[in-house]
């Protein structure tokens, strides 16, 4: 199954992926209109570490996902290898936030939580962060199953 891998040696720290993520999930069709004056809440986050190291983190779609196994409502489930959110079932208990070793599930606006669903939940259809990363630091590839801490 394809999953997103990130290459910190190529990450420029430009944070563009965060803006494209916010746009992809905004429901709008013009990026400038969608993001103007908005405090973005992306589902991918770039961490800026010491020594000018940067890397993006989004849901790893773990093979044995603690978030979905621990979800008290059944709102998080694995569908064809992708961890999907049924926001209608979620009550915002944040158990998943406390269980995700990557810090990739965050509170949201309008619904209790949000997470990367590989853009299957929006009109982009395929991860926009991958498509738009200027230095190909974020790639979608057949990858090893991440070992969640």
């Amino acid at each position: 199954m394809k999953r997103i891998t990130v290459h910190e040696e190529w990450c420029l720290g430009c944070h563009l992926c965060e803006y494209y993520c916010a746009f992809a999930n905004s429901g709008g069709d013009d990026m400038a209109d969608a993001l103007r004056g908005v405090a973005i809440r992306p589902r991918i986050a770039v961490e800026d570490a010491e020594n000018d190291v940067h890397f993006a983190v989004s849901c790893r779609h773990c093979a044995t996902p603690r978030c979905a196994e621990g979800c008290i409502t059944g709102a998080l489930s694995v569908v064809d290898g992708v961890i999907r959110l049924d926001a209608d079932k979620c009550v915002g208990c944040y158990t998943c936030i406390l269980l995700c070793p990557y810090g990739c599930i965050t509170p949201s606006e309008g619904k209790p939580i949000q997470k990367c669903e590989l853009c299957l939940n929006n009109s982009a259809g395929a991860p926009l962060c991958v498509q738009k990363c200027p230095n190909r630091a974020i790639v979608l590839e057949e990858g090893a199953v991440p070992c969640a801490l």
Binding site: V53, F55, V57, E69, T73, L98, Y102, G103, A144, L149
Partner: protein, 407 residues
């Protein structure tokens, strides 16, 4: 092979999903005393609050049993287990033979020995039926007294706050949520609940009830219309202990969920697990653990055992909009940071993070949980009590975490 699962909640669902990962053929029968399709028990407070409904609170979709080829015998109570004959006895009469049994029968409300309680009407708050009975008894004029300031009592209070006139909570413990919060954190959350109209009598047990009046240890008399008993739970383990299953407070199992009895597994609120943060065996009674125990039992029954060896307390809870998250142990050396909206306490031992209490901001708190679970020596990471980040890890470890073994 015929696999019988007694119980129809989290651990039972975990067992079904664990079995069906590997075994599509064996017969699976679920027997439960409740009639309802599997539902999320913790959601009963959200149901009364109007934040979910009967359809959305189903723990798995309507076609769950069908899709997993499960026969559900709902509304049936198991009264006895014969481990030798591999057979269950139903209260309604009849026997059900099994090859493998998963005992995931959960727990029931503990009723404390309060004088007068045996003849006074009261409500409990554990099942959907409990919630529905309580909801139909409440009116906008109701004065409610809840015995118990733990998770169940407080979530009950939140759930019914908009449906009654007054809620008072009394507990023998000196602070609320004693199983997950420290004194300072409990005081903060209590103050928050008080702002939402909840009144507390703590360190002050209800000693007797008579008519519609409760008398507390300090002599206070409290008039009420509706009494809710939320003093914790008792595991439904008797049919197993009656035939010699090893047990402490809960049934003892190995990491695959196998009890001391042949072909009998136990999971969920009825079973103990080994808490990796303090090395003690106890009933953890948390939903994620119940699922993982059940799933481990299911995998083992299917012939592909993957021991569940990372049980630990992790609790996330919102109360009147205030979120709190706790994990691991809450004792020993600690650091505290506190701002108006945020309380953060971290516990350390042997150079490792062993537990934490966060109230307010839970952003990326799972990174802290991972530090506790994996017992990462803190001299190998840049631990930041304000801002959990993967940048805390050394680059090689981080790459492996994020991209997997082959990165």
């Amino acid at each position: 092979m015929r696999i019988v699962i007694v119980g129809n909640s989290t651990a039972a669902v975990g067992a079904i999903e664990g079995i069906r990962l590997f075994d599509q053929k064996s017969e699976i029968i679920v027997i439960a005393n409740e009639e309802a399709h599997t539902y999320s028990r913790p959601l009963i407070s959200y149901l009364l609050e109007g934040k979910t409904d009967l359809q959305r609170m189903k723990y798995r979709p309507d076609d769950f049993y069908e899709r997993h080829n499960v026969t559900a015998l709902l509304g049936q109570t198991v009264t006895a287990v014969d481990a030798g004959a591999h057979e269950l006895t139903l209260a309604a009469g009849g026997k059900v033979p099994y090859d493998k049994l998963v005992w995931a029968a959960g727990s029931r409300p503990f009723i404390p020995p309060v004088q007068g309680l045996d003849s006074a009407p009261y409500y409990t708050f554990q099942s959907l039926a409990d919630a529905e009975k309580l909801a139909s008894a409440l009116s906008p004029d109701s004065r409610v007294l809840i015995i118990g300031a733990g998770l169940i009592g407080l979530k009950c209070a939140e759930g019914i706050a908009g449906r009654c006139a007054r809620i008072t909570i009394a507990d023998i413990a000196p602070r609320i949520l004693p199983s997950i919060l420290d004194e300072e954190g409990a005081a903060l959350v209590q103050a928050h609940a008080e702002k939402h109209g909840i009144r507390f009598h703590l360190g002050n047990a209800v000693q007797s009830v008579d008519g519609n009046t409760a008398r507390l240890a300090d002599g206070t008399a409290l008039d009420y219309d509706i009494l809710v008993v939320a003093s914790g739970v008792k595991p439904n383990l008797e049919p197993l202990t009656a035939i010699g299953a090893k047990a402490g407070r809960g049934i003892l199992t190995d990491a695959n969920g196998l009890t001391s009895l042949p072909d009998i597994y136990a999971a969920g609120d009825v079973a103990e697990s080994l808490d990796i943060t303090d090395g003690l065996s106890r009933i953890l009674a948390i939903l994620p653990g119940a699922y993982q125990q059940g799933k481990a039992a299911g995998k083992a029954i299917a012939g592909f055992p993957v021991p569940f060896d990372e049980a630990m307390p992790v609790n996330s809870l919102g109360l009147f909009g205030l979120h709190m998250g706790t994990a691991g142990v809450a004792k020993g050396e600690s650091t505290v940071t506190q701002t108006d909206a945020d309380y953060r306490r971290f516990f350390f031992a042997d150079g490792k993070l062993v537990g934490f209490i966060l109230i307010g901001d839970l952003h990326r708190a799972g990174i802290y949980t991972a530090l506790v679970r994996a017992k990462i020596p803190l001299d190998t990471v840049q631990f930041d009590p304000q801002k959990p980040a993967l940048a805390a890890f050394a680059p090689a470890a981080r790459q492996k975490m994020i991209n997997g073994e082959n990165a």
